[in-house]
Every structure is written in structure tokens, then in C-alpha cells.
């Protein structure tokens, strides 16, 4: 697999042609996309044009960006001017945003070449891409299995070699879970590190954009490009992007690695075995393993599935058939609203809108939403106590390897349990990333998750790099 740092290096010194790089990737897409369905749309013409421009700039001796000529895919919930942005929902089918998301502008400025928009669970609600209105994405390791979700298209695109990096969004694990299931690196940065401007909102206080890549160095490079303060996002942390690539070779000697003693049950034995192997590797590299407790972790699922749908019910109210997207014509306005939203949203989205509307409605707010916000505080306090004793925490990313299509679609709660280990991070606003660490059942990839406190990305990436060296 071609590393994005190698592509950028080669393109910027003229030893590689961006056009050739793009053609190679388009050829791979041509070969396997019909089987994988990673993309909602491939912007081949624009990509060829952008590549030609980069090559011309290099020839003319102009300085090019750190991602010069690197083929990148975007989850199809990030706005791209003039290019359809659907969120894999019928309600937005055909909508062409009149503006670019901040991350898109940053990628372009760095010379990245956007290859296409990837499939997802509708509005990022799901863990398998089975909730996409345009059909699921297949796991490149076994096409009878899900790639994970919601950013399953981005994870699969990187895993299949369609692109050398991709962006996803992570609200409860939507980057890390598919990264683990597809055997790639996936990072959910600290809340506020990457601008959300132009990311179609699912749950505003939990959403965060992050990178997928084939290895830790590529992921760090991508994150350095997209991170940093954005005045268009009020929740953006007013700090420059952290330096990550520079710390990757620092090792973990002397670092403290947290092991959760009260980890919820339900993990496959192979997954737990890989986690133990990861602890062993870090211990061997000079780290100390520290026992920590997260007593409130079992309540995370409840807190998350009240907070996220509540925010979503409000965020998705704007899809009303007035200014953009789908409209089902009806004799009066209220009928038009209801018919449009009934036809435009899939089952899972409707379920979460209903749950969230209920949790916020008069008479139920205190019992549900209000309580969930307090539980969120408990989780955050748990982490604060733990990070007094440790620098990072290691958990499985997912309870199991990639599962078969249809195996969880009838039971929403079973699907929600896929996010058991990833949700706490979003509630706390912390960074976490999934690193491939060997295989489990059916020789499918297993991911180990590295968690760190707010703005603890450097420690997190040091540990991730060490795990990568050991795997």
C-alpha cells in the first residue's frame, strides 16, 4: 500500500506525477468499487484536473503543500461546493452545497486531491453502513461482512487502496469502529481540535472530524493538516494544530498505560487476547501498566443514546423541503413537511428523531435529557480521576471483529452495543484512536483503542506508533 507521506514527497520533488498517482487509484476503484461500494460519488474529472494543476505547479517550481498529489476521500457528510453532499439520505439526494467545509478548504490548500465522497449510515447514524439509503458498503477483508460505521465508506476506501487517506466523522465511534473492522488507523481528535464548519451535524456536542490512514504516520500527517482553530466554529479550540509526526519516534519508555479493571463484558476472547498482547508490547517497550477504574462507563450507552438523538432531533429539523433537498408535494405546508420527512428519512434516523424529540419534550426533559447530561459529567469525572494515574488508556476498539450483514439490523440495541468502548470518549470530549493490532476470529482485523485526555494527542500518537511497530 502506498503511504501518503511517500506520495506527497515524490510528487513535490517531481519523482512522482500526481496525475499518475490519481490514475492508479482510479484504476483500483474501477476494479473493485462495484463490489465494495465505498463511494456515493467519485469525482474523477475534477481529480484529474487537480492532479494536472499540481504537476504543473511542481514543474513551474512553485511550492506545493504537504499533501501534494495525495488522493483523499471525504465522508459524504462534509460539504463540498458544487459536488453533491447526501449524508447517504434521500432527503439530501442531489443537493449541491454552495460552500466548502473548512476541512475541505484545508485539504485543498495542502495540495490533496479529493477523489470522491464516501458512503455512510444515513446522517452518520449507525455502525455498519446498513442504514445508507444507497445500500451498504462491504468490508474489503470479507465482503459478506460490514465495514463498520458510520464512516464505513471512508474506512473501506482506505483499506481497499482506493485512496491513501480519508476523512470521517466520529460521534460515538464512527471513525474508530470502522477503522478497527477494516484494519486501518482511525483517529477521533479532541472535541474542538478540528473545525466542524461544513460537517453536516448529527450531534453537535459530540461530532468530531478525523482521519483514516494506512498507518500512524499518515494519520498524524493528515490530522496536522486539518486541525487548528477556525473562527467559523464557536467550539473550535483557539490553538494551532499540534505537532504529531515529530513525536512518533519518541517511544513509550516511562509512560503510564491505563488498564480498565471494570471493563464492561461482552468482548470476543480473540479481541481481549489482542488487547493483552498490546499491553505486553508496551510493557516490553518500557511503559508501565496502571490499573484504573471507570465506574460510570456502563451508563455511557444510556447517556449517549439520550444526548445524541436529542441534539439530532433538532439538527435534522431543517430538512423540511423548503430551501433544498427533497420535497413531496402536498396540499398544505404541514402535510408537505410530514410527507417529505416520512419519505426522506430512513428507519434508524426516524427512530432517533423520535427518541430525541421525546427526550426533550415537556414533562420528560428532566427525566431523560437532563439526567443524561449529569451522567456525562460522571463519565468525565471518572476520566479526570483516571488521568491523574495514567497518561493514556488502552481498550478494545470494538467488542468483536466485523460482523455479517443483517446480523444486528433487527435489534437496534444490539447495534448500539458496538459502540460500547468508543462512546465514553465522545461524551468526555477526549481524543482516541484505533490502531490495527493483529487479527481475531476468521482472520479479521482487530483494533486496539488508545484513549488520552483533552489535547493529549501527542501521548496518544506515541503509544499508537509503538503498537504499530510491535504489530
Amino acid at each position: 500500500m502506498q503511504k501518503l507521506v511517500d506520495i506527497a514527497f515524490g510528487v513535490s520533488n517531481g519523482s512522482l506525477s500526481a496525475s499518475d498517482v490519481v490514475e492508479q487509484h482510479l484504476a483500483r476503484i474501477e476494479t473493485r468499487e462495484s463490489e465494495i461500494h465505498a463511494f456515493n460519488c467519485v469525482t474523477a474529472d475534477q481529480a484529474r484536473q487537480d492532479a494536472a494543476n499540481i504537476d504543473a505547479d511542481v514543474k513551474a517550481g512553485k511550492k506545493v503543500g504537504v499533501l501534494a498529489g495525495v488522493p483523499i476521500a471525504l465522508k459524504d457528510n462534509m460539504c463540498t461546493r458544487g459536488v453533491a453532499t447526501t449524508c447517504s439520505s434521500k432527503i439530501l439526494e442531489g443537493w449541491k452545497p454552495p460552500y466548502d467545509a473548512t476541512v475541505v478548504s484545508k485539504l485543498r490548500a495542502a495540495g490533496a486531491i479529493i477523489i470522491g465522497k464516501t458512503n455512510l449510515d444515513e446522517f452518520a447514524m449507525g455502525s455498519s453502513t446498513e442504514n445508507s439509503a444507497f445500500g451498504p458498503t462491504k468490508n474489503p477483508h470479507d465482503i459478506s461482512r460490514v465495514p463498520g460505521g458510520s464512516s464505513g465508506g471512508s474506512a473501506a476506501a482506505v483499506s481497499a487502496g482506493f485512496v491513501s487517506g480519508a476523512l470521517g466523522s466520529d460521534t460515538g465511534g464512527s471513525i474508530r469502529q470502522p477503522a478497527a473492522l477494516c484494519g486501518v488507523v482511525g483517529v477521533k481528535p479532541t472535541y474542538g481540535m478540528v473545525s466542524r464548519y461544513g460537517l453536516v451535524a448529527f450531534a453537535s456536542s459530540l461530532d468530531q472530524i478525523g482521519p483514516f490512514a494506512n498507518d500512524v504516520r499518515d494519520a498524524a500527517t493528515l490530522l496536522e493538516v486539518i486541525a487548528g482553530h477556525d473562527p467559523m466554529d464557536s467550539t473550535s479550540i483557539p490553538q494551532p494544530a499540534p505537532s504529531l509526526v515529530s513525536v512518533l519516534d519518541h517511544g513509550v519508555s516511562g509512560m503510564r498505560i491505563g488498564k480498565v479493571t471494570d471493563l464492561p463484558e461482552g468482548c470476543e476472547p480473540d479481541v481481549l487476547a489482542r488487547l493483552e498482547a498490546a499491553f505486553d508490547a508496551l510493557r516490553a517497550a518500557g511503559a508501565t501498566i496502571v490499573d484504573i477504574e471507570l465506574p460510570s462507563i456502563t451508563y455511557c450507552l444510556t447517556a449517549y443514546y439520550l444526548i445524541a438523538p436529542a441534539e439530532a432531533s433538532s439538527n435534522l429539523a431543517r430538512y423540511d423541503g423548503v430551501r433544498y433537498g427533497l420535497r413531496i408535494d402536498s396540499p398544505d405546508l404541514n402535510a408537505m413537511y410530514a410527507a417529505t420527512r416520512e419519505a426522506g428519512f430512513g428507519d434508524e434516523v426516524k427512530r432517533r428523531i423520535m427518541l430525541g424529540t421525546y427526550a426533550l419534550s415537556a414533562g420528560y426533559y428532566d427525566a431523560y435529557y437532563g439526567k443524561a447530561l449529569k451522567v456525562r459529567r460522571l463519565i468525565s469525572d471518572d476520566f479526570a480521576r483516571a488521568y491523574k494515574k495514567t497518561d493514556v488508556v488502552l481498550t478494545p476498539t470494538t467488542p468483536s471483529v466485523a460482523f455479517k450483514f443483517g446480523s444486528k439490523t433487527d435489534d437496534p440495541l444490539a447495534m448500539y452495543l458496538c459502540d460500547l468502548f468508543t462512546i465514553p470518549t465522545n461524551l468526555a470530549g477526549h481524543p482516541a484512536m484505533s490502531v490495527p493490532f493483529g487479527t481475531g476470529a476468521h482472520s479479521l482485523p482487530v483494533g486496539v483503542q488508545v484513549l488520552a485526555p483533552t489535547l493529549g494527542e501527542q501521548a496518544m500518537f506515541r503509544v499508537a506508533a509503538e503498537l504499530e511497530r510491535a504489530s
Binding site: 473562527p231 433544498y324 410530514a338 410527507a339 420527512r341
Partner: protein, 100 residues
């Protein structure tokens, strides 16, 4: 936290959310929501009276911008995305039952 959710409430909530659910969907939704709410009762065991709600993942305050104009979006580009327009405005069916 509380009694199980009734079909009547599900219908009321679907109206609030402007979702025109079919009777079959109402039935399925009622049982699924009831199942979830049952699971969510786990937090009833927690003593939360002294816990402050957490509303911000990262503590920021006073994020302000200067009162400086930026170019607006292109009128035609925006209107071209709308399901129905007339004389530069967005057209909607008659507003009945709102009385705002």
C-alpha cells in the same frame, strides 16, 4: 424515569417531529422505544442531585466575531437548489393550522 411509552405519546411525538408515520411504523416504533427506555432505566439507580450537568466538552467562553460584512452566497446558485421558487423567493404550499 418512568412508565413505559404509549402509542398515544408516540403519535404526539411524531407530530412534533413532523414525521408522518404509518400505523405499522407507530406500532413498531412504540415497542422499540419502549425497549430502549427500559434499558435507559439503568441511570435511575444513580444519585445525581448534586451533579452539575455537562454541556460543553471543552470549556470555552466569549467566542465573538467582529461586525464585519462578508460576501453573501450567490442568489441564483442558492435558489437553484430549492424545490420551488418564484420571483427570487422560496415557494411553499398554503400555511394551514399554524396561525403564527
Amino acid at each position: 424515569m418512568s412508565e413505559s411509552i404509549s402509542q398515544e405519546i408516540v403519535v404526539k411525538v411524531s407530530r412534533l417531529a413532523r414525521l408522518n408515520l404509518t400505523p405499522a411504523e407507530i406500532e413498531r416504533m412504540t415497542s422499540q422505544l419502549a425497549g430502549m427506555l427500559e434499558h435507559f432505566r439503568d441511570i435511575d439507580a444513580l444519585e445525581l442531585s448534586t451533579v452539575e450537568p455537562m454541556t460543553q466538552p471543552y470549556p470555552l467562553q466569549n467566542v465573538l466575531r467582529d461586525d464585519v460584512e462578508a460576501p453573501s452566497l450567490d442568489h441564483d446558485e442558492v435558489l437553484s437548489q430549492a424545490p420551488s421558487t418564484e420571483s427570487g423567493r422560496f415557494r411553499v404550499p398554503p400555511i394551514i393550522g399554524f396561525d403564527v
